[in-house]
């Protein structure tokens, strides 16, 4: 497992924050955000198995398999309790972390989440097929154009290139995240959590903008919040790092009052 970490191992009054990436990208999408959040807490992002630099699982995993792998990593890192943040597929993994070991997860942050009925999952089956094993440049360019399309206005091609390469690090299995995410039963997991966990939902103008609001009726905790982010799209963690961190800090730190530390150095490790 490949990990980026920033910030102090022990920050008084602040939970460590685990950030989980979207499919088919990797933890590198959180680089700038981790450095910002690491100012006052331990902030980490982990490549899920088969993404980025983390070893692939032997067979296509389920969300529960990703959850299990991340808890193993957290155990190795000595992190007992934490806040979790997910982005698209990562949102479902964050939810499953909270569902499966509720005593370890404090608060949940999602950047977009979608769930589908059984018939809608069938309709989305195309996305869970493997990519062309001998992928050609046109296929990869198509993915690039999708990211351009849903990016925050003003995000330059150079800024997209900072993280886009990560989508091609394990190209033969880069669809496995979709395969796991589409059938995941969000409704059931939310029912298990009930009103025990506060959830912050960020809803930028990305490809899930119209799906994400469907989660609203399931947000039962009184501190849960749903925030529309019009004009924000993919890349906002890089383009609006401080603003995003401010929104998320207010939510995560509702119960604590500790001053921010100085800027954090990002450290990669396995």
């Amino acid at each position: 497992m490949h990990v980026y970490r920033a910030g102090p191992d022990h920050a008084h009054g602040k939970m460590p924050l685990l950030c989980i990436h979207l499919t088919p990208l990797a933890a590198v999408v959180y680089s700038k955000f981790l450095a910002e959040m690491g100012r006052d807490r331990l902030a980490i992002a982990i490549d899920t198995p088969g993404y980025g630099n983390s070893d692939p699982p032997p067979t296509p995993p389920s969300i529960a398999d990703y959850t299990s792998a991340l808890f193993d990593a957290l155990d190795t890192l000595g992190i007992a309790q934490l806040d979790v943040m997910g982005f698209h597929t990562g949102s479902k993994i964050a939810l499953d972390l909270a569902r499966s070991q509720p005593h370890r997860v404090n608060r949940i942050v999602w950047v977009s989440i979608a769930y589908w009925s059984a018939s809608e999952v069938v309709g989305r089956d195309v996305y869970s097929r493997p990519t062309d094993n001998e992928a050609d440049g046109n296929y990869i360019a198509g993915l690039w154009r999708e990211i351009v399309r849903w990016s925050t206005p003003g995000r330059t091609p150079e800024q997209i290139a900072e993280t886009f390469y990560a989508s091609q690090l394990q190209p033969e299995i880069s669809h496995w995240g979709y395969r796991a995410a589409f059938p995941y039963d969000v409704e059931q997991a939310m029912a298990e959590i009930g009103s025990s966990k506060p959830v912050l939902v960020l809803n930028p103008d990305d490809d899930l903008r119209d799906h994400t609001p469907r989660i609203r009726p399931l947000l039962l905790h009184p501190h849960s919040r749903f925030v529309d982010l019009p004009g924000w799209g993919h890349g906002f963690l890089d383009l609006k790092t401080a603003e995003a961190a401010a929104i998320i800090r207010v939510f995560l730190d509702q119960d604590s009052r500790v001053n921010q530390g100085s800027g954090a150095l990002l450290t990669p490790e396995y």
């Binding site: 088919p24 097929r129 493997p130 001998e134 351009v148 849903w150 091609p157 900072e162 033969e172 490809d207």
Partner: protein, 282 residues
């Protein structure tokens, strides 16, 4: 994030997955260098083999070779500074600075005697490291070691520009075709293509560093045994010029070894490397 649909059937194999090599970071000065390592030092007294990659790739390009060689010796494939997952150099990067950084990595890992394998830019870095650390570097095996003429350098300076990423993704199609146009059939370019797409790879400095490197002058200064293999790529005629300059070693042609040989011909390559390092070829 939505990806476009494709209709290919799953073949079930996953040639880009890495099974043998362990990946790690070493902190060298104020930056992280990323490397792959296979084999074990405990089982052998053989010097570790350090594999130095071509631009714009990374240590990932040696994954097939690592699988073939790791029974015999410890073998490391670092990402050169500014490539793969290694932090870039702070100063204007050149071959000598890359070699110095790899030397510091050897120190950090406690490797006293090493053999070097280079590919293109990696060959230049290997020669430079052999010069910088004469007593530490035992032998060299270089795949492409181009000696450029002044005219070739001038042509290059006119031709090469950094790749500008564009919204329509044309830079991706262009790069793909450039690497695919003349390569071995069956080569899995997709498994290496992430490194081509990295922002630092889009810059022209890496090829620039190789063209500027005075390889001929350095080659005659190197006293260690050198084997140069000349694969069939756009540097073949330039590499051929290196042959007469080798003081202690040989140049051998590898006809039909088109780009992609690091994967497709990894087993044969491993035999060539092993034979040379073990003293079977003179």
């Amino acid at each position: 994030l939505v990806i476009p649909a494709v209709d290919e059937a799953c073949t079930g194999n996953n040639p880009s997955s890495e099974t043998n090599a362990r990946k790690a970071y070493a902190r060298v000065g104020d930056r992280h260098l990323h490397y792959r390592v296979a084999g074990s030092r405990r089982t052998t007294r053989t010097p570790a083999l350090i594999c130095l990659h071509a631009a714009p790739f990374s240590g990932r390009s040696f994954v097939s070779l690592l699988e073939q060689l790791d029974h015999n010796r410890q073998i490391l494939a670092p990402d050169l500074p500014g490539f793969g997952d290694s932090d870039p150099l702070s100063q204007t990067p050149d071959v000598a600075a890359c070699a110095s950084a790899i030397g510091l990595l050897l120190d950090a890992l406690g490797l006293e005697t090493v053999d070097l394998l280079g590919h293109r830019l990696g060959s230049a870095v290997a020669l430079e490291l052999a010069r910088q650390r004469q007593s530490q570097v035992r032998m060299l095996v270089l795949f492409s070691a181009p000696v450029f003429t002044a005219e070739e350098r001038a042509d290059f300076e006119r031709a090469v520009r950094a790749v500008q990423p564009s919204e329509d993704g044309e830079h991706i199609i262009h790069s793909w075709q450039a690497f695919r146009v003349r390569s071995l059939e069956g080569w899995n370019l997709a498994a290496q293509f992430a490194d081509v797409l990295r922002p630092q790879a889009l810059a022209a400095w890496a090829s620039d560093a190789l063209y500027r490197y005075p390889l001929a002058e350095r080659l005659v200064q190197v006293s260690q045994p050198v084997a140069i293999y000349n694969p069939d790529d756009e540097f073949s005629s330039a590499t051929r010029r290196a042959g007469p300059l080798i003081k202690n070693g040989f140049l051998a042609e590898l006809p039909d070894w088109l780009p992609g040989f690091l994967d497709i011909k990894a087993a044969t390559m491993a035999t060539l490397v092993r034979d040379h390092l073990d003293g079977a070829v003179r």
